[in-house]
Symmetry: C2
Subunit: 482 residues, 2 copies
């Protein structure tokens, strides 16, 4: 608990209207896209890097834990203030400071919403590829903290490939400026890459310089249905083997197709084991159409039973409907879901999807799988009802089994969601004790008092992380899961 004196000092920094300590406000800042929940002592909405720095200097002096937060859409428990303290919500820092056409980059504050940023740069003929599913809500600062990806990232790369510079407030309150409007930079260690994906454990990113691309003028899309999962996976390899790097190469397994079809009724064949959504973009309609036709040909050759290629934008939108409907469909099927985020070598997709099917049967849970097939980044979604006694324990067991299946196949825990609190007990299994020790050393160097995002990423040694779910349950009563 913060003292009245501490609270009034924080009010003096950011203004009383930006210090939020009422019961409703503390609940609002207590959860993210998972089931964990813990209120902060206070939530603070600073307006500038200078205010963030002043809050951090004060927190450092008083040894108050701090959790930075954007829109709180994350799926790892990463923004939950597990030990209370201050939540620094950067949502007011939402200015697009500059779109620079000469240097094809943008300067933004951390609280800018990804989708709003995309719309703005596209309206100016520019392109920012990273497109997490949360883009309508999630912030660019949060995207940096998690190294967000999305369907376009096979061809275009993830958030880390677009950060040219950043302003970071360290736990001490010191302000680090790194990089610039510079497309190449090897002047010393690449500190920006250390903060990207560090989930708010090393510093508070307040301002970002993002590389932009020219906006591709045209695109085209196809969907291919495969009676056999192995054939779909072989087609993914076949597309790349045909010399094509598609803008999108998404997969949905049979369980996902069925759940989506029950929801949207768009005539998806429910007897196929997988579908692939393929897209190409570029500047030349004929060339793009030819590449999509070539991908369709590869799919047919690899056993696709049906292939649909869009003839215009309306048909393209229709083909995307199934992919876009997944989240809503899953929510309708069961009231709760745990969206996982494993990565495997692309060639191991059939093996891991089959293993997940077995795990679902073993634990008596529906686990539809979809994701970024080109990247080997899959989202097994464990569907359940947290009100049913015993179900959450089975979810816990299934999630652990999925993590271990991915690791056993040469994969890892997370491709774009982060470790947060939910996967932290598996970190050492995934990266080994030496890597964890190096990460701890880096954390100690940058956050010597250990104030930033306590209880995240690093294993507590207290056993499987899903226990956190169970302890969080009582406070969840009465709140609808996200």
């Amino acid at each position: 608990m913060l003292t009245d004196s501490q609270l009034s000092q924080i009010r003096a920094i950011v203004g009383a209207e930006n210090v939020h300590g009422g019961p409703a406000e503390l609940i609002a800042y207590s959860y993210d896209g998972t089931f964990e929940q813990h209120p902060p002592d206070v939530a603070v909405t600073p307006a500038s890097t200078e205010e963030v720095a002043a809050v951090m200097r004060f927190a450092y002096q008083e040894e108050i834990p701090v959790v930075t937060r954007g829109a709180g859409t994350n799926l790892s428990g990463g923004t939950i203030p597990l030990t209370g303290g201050i939540v620094l919500a950067l949502t007011r820092m939402n200015r697009i400071i500059e779109i620079d056409h000469v240097n094809t980059c943008a300067v933004v504050e951390a609280g800018v919403v990804n989708g709003e940023f995309q719309a703005r740069v596209e309206s100016e003929g520019l392109f920012y590829p990273p497109d997490p599913s949360s883009l309508a809500q999630s912030t660019l600062g949060g995207n940096v903290a998690c190294c967000a990806g999305g369907p376009r990232c096979l061809k275009y790369g993830v958030t880390k490939d677009y950060v040219l510079g950043m302003t970071v407030v360290l736990s001490s309150g010191e302000v680090l400026e790194w990089g610039g409007k510079l497309f190449k930079n090897v002047t010393g260690y690449n500190l920006a890459q250390l903060f990207i994906g560090s989930e708010g454990t090393l510093g508070v990113v307040t301002r970002i310089i993002l590389r932009l691309l020219p906006l591709p003028r045209v695109r085209n899309t196809a969907v291919a249905f495969f009676p056999r999962l192995d054939d779909a996976a072989a087609a993914v390899v076949g597309v790349m083997g045909a010399g094509i790097l598609p803008a999108t190469l998404e997969i949905m397994d049979q369980a996902t197709i069925n759940v989506v079809e029950q929801y949207v009724r768009i005539g998806l064949p429910t007897d196929v084991e997988a579908l692939l959504l393929l897209e190409q973009d570029g500047n030349d309609q004929d060339a793009v159409d030819r590449e999509v036709a070539r991908m369709v040909e590869v799919c047919r050759k690899h056993g696709a039973s049906d292939v649909r290629m869009a003839k215009d934008a309306a048909e393209r939108n229709e083909l995307w409907r199934a992919r876009r409907s997944i989240s809503g469909a899953l929510g309708r099927y069961r009231p709760s879901k745990l969206g996982e985020d494993i990565v495997v070598p692309r060639g191991q997709i059939p093996a891991v999807v089959r293993r997940i099917r077995e795990i679902g049967q073993e634990f008596g849970l529906a686990i539809p799988v979809f994701g970024h097939a080109g990247d080997g980044n899959l989202h097994p979604n464990i569907l359940f009802d947290f009100r049913v006694p015993g179900e959450l324990e089975r979810v816990q067991g299934a999630a652990a089994a999925i993590f271990r299946a991915a690791i056993a196949l040469g994969g890892t825990l997370t491709g774009e969601h982060g470790v947060g609190s939910l996967k932290k007990e598996f970190l050492e299994e995934a990266v080994g004790p030496l890597a964890v020790q190096i990460m701890r050393d880096i954390k100690a160097a940058l956050d010597p008092k250990g104030l930033l995002n306590q209880g995240k990423m690093f294993p507590s040694g207290s056993g499987p992380a899903m226990e956190d779910f169970l302890t969080a349950l009582p406070t969840l009563q009465g709140i609808t899961p996200g």
Copy 2:
């Protein structure tokens, strides 16, 4: 100096034939692509990660400095054993372990030569974009240590964008395995990105997993000549503004054009202030040709006096001749050169080129400028004769003035060569004292005894780095500068 006992223990690890201590061998391992020179006490050529680890464990125990080295082509003094000790030359570790078509990646040892790797993957229909000018000699391990770039990096990114995993021997001799055949990975901090560009100061990278792309099937090239430098720079911006991301967008200034033309006599107009070399690649010849034609149109619109577009591969090679001849031409013009590597925001290219022209006049030195215009990454080459008394001091002054000009324009010291010893005294000016302190903390965490690549990257506080040139001079007598 190592003791006989120490040397015999190293021989026991790698075999006597791989421990090199003769006078000629010590000279061979005493220099790189700069003018600095200092012999090691011994050079060791290990055959495996295990042998590297055993050597490092021994060096750690005995507190012997270690400098890792690939082909020694670097242009920053980065591989010179300034404090003696062991040079670990990884040139025997030159196996391409695997080209994996299913997962479009390769597993290589650090000593594989970039150009040999490129030829191999291209023969299998795959593509590894980073193409430093040293590619015929430089190793992929060295490329990782410096985060090498090249002309293709505007469109395709630099070395850091291709590393999926690595094996690193730490200074303690412990072996870190990071990543895998995984296109996305946010499981903990991105340690690979910390080692990339760290110039051998944090660990010894012995094995790398590199992402590959499908090989673009076609390409086309054009050259445009501009009477006015500003117009060439505006054309660079205009090409991107026309929605095109070219595979190559190189610039040569008037001084470079003149030096090249005097050497190769291919009819370059010597009265123009700049030329641009433009290339596009893709899978569709018509689409690629249309984009190159569009770039040509942009150049004409921006004041190009002459534009040549290749009609076939022979013409394409002819257009590249000027670019490829630069290094030889500069060597013929004056016996010595210092190749710099500044980066500025793309829009500042005219300002920095003009400032470099002034600096050349001020110090009485020819400084042709060429480089990667799309990236804002320029290579001012200071031409001189180190045997002429006083000339090296002027080079020192000119280099410092160039660094400061780049920093003043929002740029930095190095885009792809690294800091090494030559630029270390300017590190703090470029990144600020806080960034240097964080870098020192990271260095201390990973190399607590400070054994790896001593005297590199970090400022000594002893003044301008070029002093090193002067102290190196006596040993240089009789050795032809590279």
